[in-house]
Symmetry: C2
Subunit: 211 residues, 2 copies
């Protein structure tokens, strides 16, 4: 399995090449040829691994979502209480370069997802998972009394999702308006007012990240 003067590629590598093209030139410039060129190869690489361009894009989005979920779960290890919610937010908010690229890619796909059922379902899945995580954590916090019992975990989870998605969208369009510390200010303000959260115990979460 090989090639004349190059190497062989996996589906993941093709998808990551697609990511780079999208980040650099935009989704509308991410043609099959452009992606192949990014790998220093020809279109044969793409057509061999994917039956469609649609399949390639779906796979690329799927891997992106999987990576996000993976990072989120990894960051949760070893933290307890309200800090767990802060950790989730730390991987969701556009803070480090990885999260920023993730947001850029994610937003790039949203437009297409509106007229593509499969892509939209992929987007929906990520939102549902995020919502589930928040709701689960909130219920656990209510059980231990760290969060008022009279709040609705469902509504509160929707709020947290909306808040972080709004910050992510805002950051993509106006990076200067949402620097990391302001992102935390917004989020902490909410946690304090709504969930009666005290000040953060340790430093800003997300410093010890997985991967």
């Amino acid at each position: 399995m090989a090639r004349v003067a190059g190497r062989t590629f996996t589906r993941e590598e093709v998808a990551e090449a697609a990511w780079r093209v999208i980040l650099r030139d935009g989704l509308h410039k991410a043609s099959v040829r452009a992606i192949a060129k990014e790998l220093d190869a020809t279109t044969g690489v793409v057509t061999y691994h994917f039956k469609d361009k649609a399949e390639l894009l779906l796979f690329a989005l799927d891997r992106l979502g999987a990576a996000i979920i993976r990072n989120m779960d990894a960051s949760l290890q070893g933290s307890t209480g309200l800090d767990r919610i802060r950790r989730i937010l730390a991987t969701t908010l556009p803070q480090g370069p990885r999260e920023i690229s993730g947001w850029r890619l994610w937003i790039s796909f949203v437009g297409l997802a509106m007229s593509n059922k499969r892509l939209r379902e992929e987007h929906q899945r990520r939102l549902e998972i995020l919502n589930d995580r928040f709701a689960t954590e909130l219920k656990a916090l209510q059980a231990t009394g760290d969060v008022p019992a009279d709040i609705d975990p469902g509504v509160e989870a929707d709020t947290l999702v909306a808040l972080s998605d709004g910050i992510g969208l805002g950051f993509v369009l106006r990076p200067k308006a949402y620097p990391p510390d302001k992102q935390w200010e917004i989020v902490e303000g909410y946690l304090r007012a709504r969930l009666g959260a005290g000040p953060r115990v340790s430093g800003r979460p997300g410093s010890g990240r997985g991967r």
Copy 2:
């Protein structure tokens, strides 16, 4: 000024035709020919009114933003106090068909805006205006004592923008997850906890809309 068996068109009409095509088939399918066909005309209509396709898209986005701002300001007339903020949110959140279409269009453009400076600036302007409106209202409410003096209007305005943008983005992807009443539940929950807002005086705002 005319044509053989049809009529003549304005720039606005061309832009609105572009909106319809984007809403129906997606931005990537909104070719010059498709837009002309939507008007039951030929490409000559488009090329006459716009030097570029880029200029057409920019104009279409500009008009969309202008319409949103116009609706927002119109809805503010005659309301006072915290209800003014609720009114702004009522035109911002995806509740009626007009707001929903606005959000779909807006999100459709975001992906392109990431690799197009002019489009991005247009997006930024809308976000800045919205932020300014919120901040202005909050400061006024602080002056009258309707809102605690120790909150930061800037941060709070950013929060409100993020919250409504997050709901808008979430709605576009998962309409079922964000029905109008849940949108209000989220927003009211925030207003109550953070701004010490009492229950709404009248019914759901936004019923008496302009236009």
